[in-house]
Amino acid sequence: MAHAAAHSGEHAHDHDHEHDHESLKTFGFWIFLITDVILFGSLFATYIVLHQNTNGGPTPEELFKMPGIIAETFILLTSSFTSGLAVLGMNKGNLKQLIGWLAVTVVLGASFVGLELSEFITMVNHEGATISTSAFLSAFFTLVGTHGLHVSVGLIWMIGLIFQLRRRGITAVTKRKVAVISLYWHFLDVVWIFVFTIVYLMGVM
């Protein structure tokens, strides 16, 4: 309120309100992320319970090709870094840098999804490992696929945001939107670290 008092008239009121409004949305997104943690937690629990039930089908050791997975991991971690650079650019008020790093993030994210898809296709076509082969594979495709779906949604979202940024520049609203998607992107990175450890590393060990 002290802030509003320093200015006068409707404009100050407006500005103050908008600021509140945007921080409210970021806060809500944090709570949404809690729900997403529970969602992934349930999928991880299911995977852990079922991962030995291979039903005579391929086992994790036979299926997982670590070089590809490690490449995916590096690409996704890098994209998290570049999304951070985008936010830094935004904080400096540099629209060009913001959009540029977001675009790099999109490219990296898309390569991650592409690699993951090709990994899935290889499994299905060459190893006959489909979602209906065994409980292990059902849990595997669902857990990793849900993460991949999240990344894909994030890509569409980020591309949409780039268009909005080009049209509107850096405002309170677009600032919040960038902050939220970068939160989302880092979150997906953290989830991937768990996928990498629990599914892939422990699978080939």
Partner: protein
């Protein structure tokens, strides 16, 4: 060609049961009637502008409540059909598979499509008003939540006449709910109806947590919040932790059925027990999600109608938070008999019993609030008083069930049925009825007729005990739940007959409530000053029904019962409210997107149910386009000018005299 169409129609529509045929005809007729009335009175534009696209939390709340009363009717008819079937030995009133469908839909509808929306309706109407806010944190999301619930419920209900209802019980355990045992579309309706509305519930949970944490009036510290708001907060915390588990569980079951995955199947390495664990990790908190807000309602009512501050405010808050924590550590008590072992059973038995401690503390707080109070026996207060013994009995039978060794005897018997109906009807239904009566004037600007309300109250209460007390004894006599029919020589006939009579008494009680509403609309007993009950919390400080912006000027709060304090101060100083300087008020614009998005979800769900990807894929694309359209729209709010606020307030105050 004609044969093909006939073949399709016979699979698509449910045929062969005269009861369902009657329902189909009456659904068709009432739809025609609705369309006719809306067209004849030219109300389509009004419906669209004022309701379907509204983001006003009060209107959304009213829509929730209307839907839930309709669902109460449908779930109630299901209940009475079951009671008719069981009234006599060897009865053939219903076909066996029809009976299975009815007990399934009764459970699903009563919990998910009756109790949840009634609860969300009260959240929506009351919470922003109680905390002195102009709206919820995310009005657009709020509207989306409602329409997701609405279309999810529609998808579930349509299974009744199209394709066939689910019949694997309200939690749809595999392997019974798997393709191998339930090849029809009924389970798909179950999965998608609940999934779509469940997403809405999750969003409501997030919305209200943020609303309560961030939008309270200046001065309202957390420990000065009204008790109902606290109960909503506890309930929403449980929602955000429990509902994602439900989302996953239903998705996995669907993958099993749709893509041949092996999560819960008997073959392929699947593990049905995994489903039962997951569903109860959501399902047990769920029953506390619906009952805790009822505790909040009782707290408000007891305090208002005893003219006293709530006894033990802090212990009440603490008790609710403890319950929301413990609710996540009790799920295995639903399957003590499934071989988890003595240690696991002991852990869950003890954590279940622990719940009785905070609950008991609350009961004593309500009793001490009434002690030496000036009690007024209005209908909301009567429901509250009736709730206490009912819930205490239900709680005690619950503790009996939580004793793991004893549970081997009670498990899946009518003793259990009687127990959970006692806590759910005695706690949730009584609580929400009390809340509905209490806040009705705030919603609509008139009171409900007390005389008819008391008739409804007694019919419900007497009917309740007549219906469920015999079921405890039937359970002890060995009658199991989901029993379709029984032989004369089992000796269960007389008690079942009594129970059925009780069920119908509650049905008559419901008719009295409908009559009460109709009568009260006709003979409006207007709420002239916005404070018909001499309330204590902020919602009573503004006119009824509240204007679109709720508070012309945001209140400054210093005490827990803010409005009561204000009234005392005014009485002491002899002055009325301070003069008001109006300012423009920032409000969200209406939006059609929530309605459209949810309609697309309905079609996507319907396509999934039948495996029609030609319907699902375009519908999901529609969902995506709507979301992008929303993200690209920046013109989402407006200001109500100060003059208009002034005029509205003057008109509302003029109406008082």
């Amino acid at each position: 060609m004609l044969d093909k169409i006939k073949q399709f129609a016979s699979e698509f529509f449910v045929t062969g049961d005269p009861l369902i045929l009657g329902a189909q005809v009456s659904i068709g007729l009432s739809m025609v009637a609705m369309i006719f009335v809306l067209t004849y009175f030219r109300k389509w534009g009004w419906l669209w502008k004022e309701w379907l696209t509204s983001v006003d939390h009060k209107r959304i709340g009213i829509m929730y409540i209307i839907c839930s009363i309709m669902m109460l009717f449908r779930g109630g008819v299901d209940a009475l059909l079951m009671r008719l079937q069981l009234a006599m030995p060897n009865s053939e009133f219903l076909q066996a598979d029809h009976y299975n469908q009815i007990f399934t839909t009764h459970g699903v509808i009563m919990i998910l499509f009756m109790a949840m929306p009634l609860m969300f309706g009260l959240f929506n109407i009351v919470v922003p008003l109680q905390i002195g806010a102009r709206d919820v944190a995310y009005p657009f999301l709020n509207s989306l939540s409602f329409w997701m619930f609405f279309w999810g419920a529609m998808l579930f209900n349509v299974s009744f006449v199209i394709g066939g209802s689910p019949d694997a019980g309200w939690l749809s355990y595999p392997p019974l709910s798997e393709l191998s045992h339930s090849p029809g579309v009924g389970q798909n309706f179950y999965i998608w109806g609940i999934q779509i509305s469940g997403i809405g519930s999750l969003a409501t949970g997030i919305n209200f947590i943020v609303t309560i944490l961030k939008m309270r009036a200046p001065g309202m510290k957390l420990m000065k919040m009204p008790m109902f708001t606290w109960s909503v907060f506890s309930s929403c915390i449980m929602i955000i932790f429990a509902f994602p588990i439900l989302t996953v569980t239903l998705a996995l079951l669907f993958l099993d059925r749709f893509l041949g995955a092996h999560f819960f199947t008997l073959d392929g390495g699947g593990n049905p027990m995994m489903y039962i664990n997951l569903i109860w990790m959501w399902g047990h908190p769920e029953v506390y999600i619906v009952v805790v807000p009822a505790f909040g309602i009782f707290s408000e009512i007891v305090s208002t109608f005893s003219k006293k501050k709530l006894f033990g405010y802090k212990s009440m808050v603490f008790a609710m938070l403890i319950i929301s924590l413990l609710s996540f550590f009790t799920w295995a008590h639903h399957f003590f008999t499934m071989g988890s072992g003595a240690n696991v059973n002991a852990f869950f038995a003890i954590s279940t019993m622990l719940i009785a401690i905070p609950t008991g503390a609350k009961v004593f707080n309500w009793l001490f609030t009434m002690y030496r109070g000036k009690i007024r026996f209005t209908t909301p207060m009567m429901w509250t008083v009736a709730f206490i013994p009912c819930f205490v009995i239900g709680g005690m039978t619950g503790v009996l069930l939580s004793v793991a060794p004893a549970d081997f005897q009670f498990h899946n018997s009518y003793f259990l049925i009687a127990h959970f109906h006692q806590v759910l009807i005695g706690g949730v239904a009584f609580g929400y009825f009390a809340g509905l009566y209490y806040w009705w004037p705030k919603m609509f600007g008139f009171k409900l007729n007390e005389h008819l309300g008391k008739w409804a109250f007694w019919l419900w209460n007497i009917g309740f005990y007549v219906c469920f007390m015999p079921q405890y004894f039937l359970g002890l006599d060995g009658m199991t739940r989901r029993t379709y029919t029984y032989d004369f020589d089992m000796g269960w006939g007389p008690l079942n007959l009594v129970s059925t009579v009780g069920g119908f008494l509650m049905g008559v009680g419901f008719i009295f409530q409908v009559w009460q509403i109709a009568h009260s609309i006709k003979f409006r007993e207007a709420d002239v000053n916005g404070d018909p009950w001499e309330g204590r919390t902020l919602e009573w400080s503004i006119p009824s029904p509240a204007p679109i912006y709720n508070f012309a000027v945001l209140p400054q709060v210093s005490e827990a019962d803010a409005w009561w304090e204000e009234k005392e101060k005014r009485a002491a100083s002899g002055k009325s409210a301070a003069p008001i300087v109006y300012e423009p008020i920032h409000m969200p614009k209406n939006s059609a997107i929530p309605f459209i998005i949810s309609t697309f979800w309905f079609f996507a769900g319907f396509g999934f149910v039948w495996g029609w990807m030609w319907l699902t894929i375009p519908a999901l694309i529609g969902v995506g386009i709507c979301m992008i359209a929303r993200s690209f729209s920046y013109d989402t709010d407006y200001y109500i000018p100060a003059d208009e606020v002034k005029r509205t307030e003057a008109a509302l105050k003029g109406a008082k005299l």
